[in-house]
Symmetry: C2
């Protein structure tokens, strides 16, 4: 078994050692650009951790790790178009750099290409691995669709928001883990528990991201912050604030989130002032911890000796204590 740091390096190497450039360059250069931006390689790391947890050496799971990272980057390419995001990891997004058409088409190619890496895994596992990644992809799209739909709705509940982020963020973490586990021949019951772990860790991760979007600064976070407020996103912060606010603050919040033209900084400050007076950050951290605990409980129940779970416990802990 490898240490956490070795697995981290393994995930980075697995992705970095591949060649992504070929002809036509109009198609493959954006793919190469996207995958060479670094990033935390969280998903391929999860694939490797899960594989070793169930007894396979990380080398066997590296193709699946590359698959899930490319799938993740495909979603970023298309999401950035839809969200009109200028920056990603502190650099111009693919659609800003290469144009919308390239970002659509290169994303499509990454989507297909991601699955082809799974064909380097054991022959008798391919069909199951592909199926897991297809199901994950569909659910991620559903999550993104709910996210879009919520923009024009004013009756979104906290429950619906959590289901949306489960699909949009949790499912891909759970997919990454499942791929590694299946490579290692993990049984059905443990696979289910691993999914619960992945999805809840994903929800916790997203709530934390919402907090960072509101309270970090660009330099530290590597992304433009305050975008959720500028885009009138119904995050947990907003929905919880609506729930606990008094009549006056509630009205003010609804007004701020219905503005079509505004001074960005001014709006951000007003919304944050309301959040702070209502201690919304504390509610968010509580909810994040709840999902974190659910994840840990599922991990505890997995039928594998405790020492084999250490890396996943460590992953969860690092995730929850990250500062960007």
């Amino acid at each position: 078994m490898h240490t956490f740091e070795e697995l981290q390096q393994g995930a980075i190497d697995a992705v970095d050692s591949r060649i992504y450039s070929k002809e036509p360059s109009i198609l493959y250069e954006p793919i190469d650009y996207s995958l060479r931006q670094g990033g935390k390689r969280i998903r391929p790391l999860l694939t490797l951790i899960a594989a070793e947890m169930f007894g396979a050496d990380m080398e066997r799971a590296k193709p699946a790790a590359v698959a899930v990272e490319m799938l993740h980057n495909f979603t970023l390419l298309h999401d950035d178009i839809m969200d009109n995001s200028p920056l990603r990891r502190g650099k111009p997004t693919v659609f800003k750099k290469y144009g919308t058409n390239s970002a659509i088409l290169s994303g499509d190619t990454m989507f297909a290409k991601a699955f082809t890496y799974l064909y380097e895994c054991d022959k008798d596992k391919i069909s199951e691995l592909v199926e897991i990644m297809l199901q994950g992809s569909i659910e991620v799209c559903e999550g993104q669709a709910y996210d879009m739909e919520f923009e024009t709705r004013d009756d979104v509940t906290i429950e619906q928001y959590l289901e949306m982020i489960r699909l949009k963020t949790g499912v891909l973490l759970s997919t990454a883990l499942s791929l590694g586990a299946v490579v290692a021949g993990c049984g059905r019951d443990d696979l289910e528990k691993l999914k619960i772990f992945g999805q809840n860790i994903g929800i916790a991760f997203q709530i934390q991201d919402d907090i960072f979007d509101c309270w970090s600064d660009l330099e530290e976070f590597g992304k433009v912050t305050g975008t959720d407020i500028a885009d009138n996103k119904k995050t947990f912060l907003y929905l919880k604030a609506l729930e606990v606010a008094g009549e006056e603050q509630r009205k003010e919040l609804l007004r701020l989130f219905s503005l079509r033209s505004f001074d960005r900084k001014e709006k951000e400050d007003s919304v944050k002032a309301i959040y702070e007076s209502l201690e919304i950050r504390s509610y968010a951290k509580q909810l994040m911890n709840k999902h974190y605990e659910t994840a840990l409980k599922a991990l505890e129940e997995i039928d594998v000796v405790k020492s084999r779970k250490d890396n996943l416990y460590l992953f969860a802990k690092k995730l929850i204590t990250r500062n960007k």
Copy 2:
């Protein structure tokens, strides 16, 4: 074995009998809209024809037929965004009706969903079927990328153009045939010949489409015509005209295809006048026939009794004599 008409009906039924609507509707309504527009169902028909040619009843190949039609429609959704096409089969395109973001995301979902239908086929065939469709998808994207790249290049050769349409159009027909053949357990040699048939029929089909785009009218063709000229597309018509034109006409053609603002009708008439004086339509028909003959030769060589090939011969003949 079924008659051609029964297989045609089978392809239509296979696609029409499925349910595409579900929640979130923002995601699935465009998918349903896209697949309910009818269309010629050429690709699923090819899947069924190939399956029966190699001895499987069409029922066994219907899931693969649905898969390839959904994959095809996914490419249409994204191509229509990239080409900014307002109409498809005489109706508003998905991105015009539902917006670009919906068309991107619904397309992505169709891409993933298409592959899931293959899981209804025989278990031991799934991995090969998925691989064929993945490879086909990547090549179709490459074809679209070359198409985009050619827009800004003025040194495209006829050979490069033919490779582009092989990828963009031929490969998906060949994929459709391969899926049906693999469902029926066809051998490797025959599969290769079937691919040659499919790709060459596809090239012939695309050259014909280029002719229609230039010389049909909207009502008959169901699409806005003259778009290739308006978009400065380097079709075979244009490339051949450049090759055979005298100095003056060549200059005029280059000038017309470098205009950024123009009266659409006027430009179309000028280009068509040049094409007609150079008998470009006749060159195009010759080239179309050449690829048609290559396709027929490959079909002839497939190791199956002649009577089993009748439907595919009929398909080829109908395709080449279509008027829209």
